[in-house]
Symmetry: C2
Subunit: 229 residues, 2 copies
């Protein structure tokens, strides 16, 4: 089981601690603000009040068995860089540092951070991709050119069976599964809805609200979303 150290409990660092702890991870949380160290101490394995830009204070931390250190300090670039530099002296196998600018990132790489995360850039790209291709409910890259995507079934595919649509040959798209809602009424007469993941056969007929799970080249997936709806 890995031991994680998170330095800087702003919104980002605090959330990392919460999710890691929730999933059973062992977390050492560090910050120089007492109110946030107090607030987090019942969630994590250890919550420590320390100024991580001070070599003496940082030497008091239980860093020997830490597998991954995450520096979540954001706005205070100087504190972020000094903390990263000091942590490098402790032979922690994996140091992940947050960067807020390209120069900040370059300095962090030079002082030896193993991975850099720029939160604003990551989320900015993600949000923009979703805005520009809203028919793609979700998309995860499988390789440089291929993805898995979730797409609403186009209107003109409804009531057709997969075999006759022949998407693999006509559009270079593989339908690997589909998500279908079931609306029923419970014993009290209340409407109930549940979602089912179906691995369709050729004679399965597509229904109006189906969500298709597709695999294919990115350009073929984009092409598919331009099918008349």
């Amino acid at each position: 089981e890995k031991i994680f150290a998170v330095i800087g409990l702003g919104n980002f660092g605090y959330q990392i601690c919460e999710t890691l702890a929730q999933q059973g991870g062992e977390v050492i949380a560090v910050d120089n603000r007492s109110e946030v160290v107090e607030r987090i101490k019942n969630i994590v394995s250890q919550a420590i009040l320390v100024d991580t830009t001070d070599p003496e204070s940082i030497s008091s931390l239980p860093l020997n068995d830490v597998d991954v250190a995450i520096i979540g300090i954001g706005e205070n670039i100087e504190a972020n860089i000094l903390t990263t530099a000091l942590l490098k002296q402790y032979n922690i196998p994996r140091i992940i540092a947050r960067a807020v600018t390209p120069i900040h990132e370059r300095v962090l790489r030079q002082i030896g951070a193993h991975e850099i995360i720029n939160i604003e850039i990551n989320e900015g790209k993600r949000i923009a991709q979703k805005l520009i291709a809203p028919e793609i409910l979700d998309q995860v890259p499988l390789s440089e050119s291929d993805s898995v995507a979730e797409v609403f079934v186009p209107d003109n595919f409804v009531d057709k069976d997969l075999k006759s649509l022949d998407l693999r040959n006509k559009m270079n798209i593989n339908v690997i599964a589909l998500k279908r809602k079931h609306r029923k009424v419970d014993e009290a007469g209340n409407p109930e809805s549940s979602e089912e993941l179906i691995f369709p056969a050729g004679d399965d007929v597509l229904q109006g609200d189906d969500i298709l799970i597709l695999v294919g080249r990115n350009k073929d997936i984009t092409n598919f979303t331009r099918v008349k709806r």
Copy 2:
């Protein structure tokens, strides 16, 4: 084609503009800092210098045909809330506002923002999930209980064929594709590597560096990653 308005060109807002424009979107970028309006004006359709907390200034913006407005102002919560409230008066069909705290989010919902994004929370969760389950290279939810996941092939599955592994019945996991590297040597004798996405048949034999693309219930995917390696 949708028209996007992005107010607040900090790191997050600026990246949204860049990615939207890169993907062919029409972008109106707004900020009250001239240096960033100058820097972005060659990337976007319109770059406008305006204080969006001022009702008179905001009325000068070309908002009539805007389909989606994104408020990317972060630290300045007051400016973010005032801007969102003023934009609501322009009947923009979709207003996406950034929030930095839970109270901030509640206020934004009350004044009518259609969607709220908390960057630090989103990225914190995402990073933590990747740290806690590193065998899962990527995972996208297909429903509340199912996902598609990319996982390295376990050592003890190497040189076995899919039919005999019978993962669907033994582990409730569907291998829908696999990613395989091909290493060759080009005409000059230089090593070349390329990635291939394979839709395997039952008699296909798994190789050492294969990445499996799986579909299944989240708990079954997690279970799969605990297979001895």
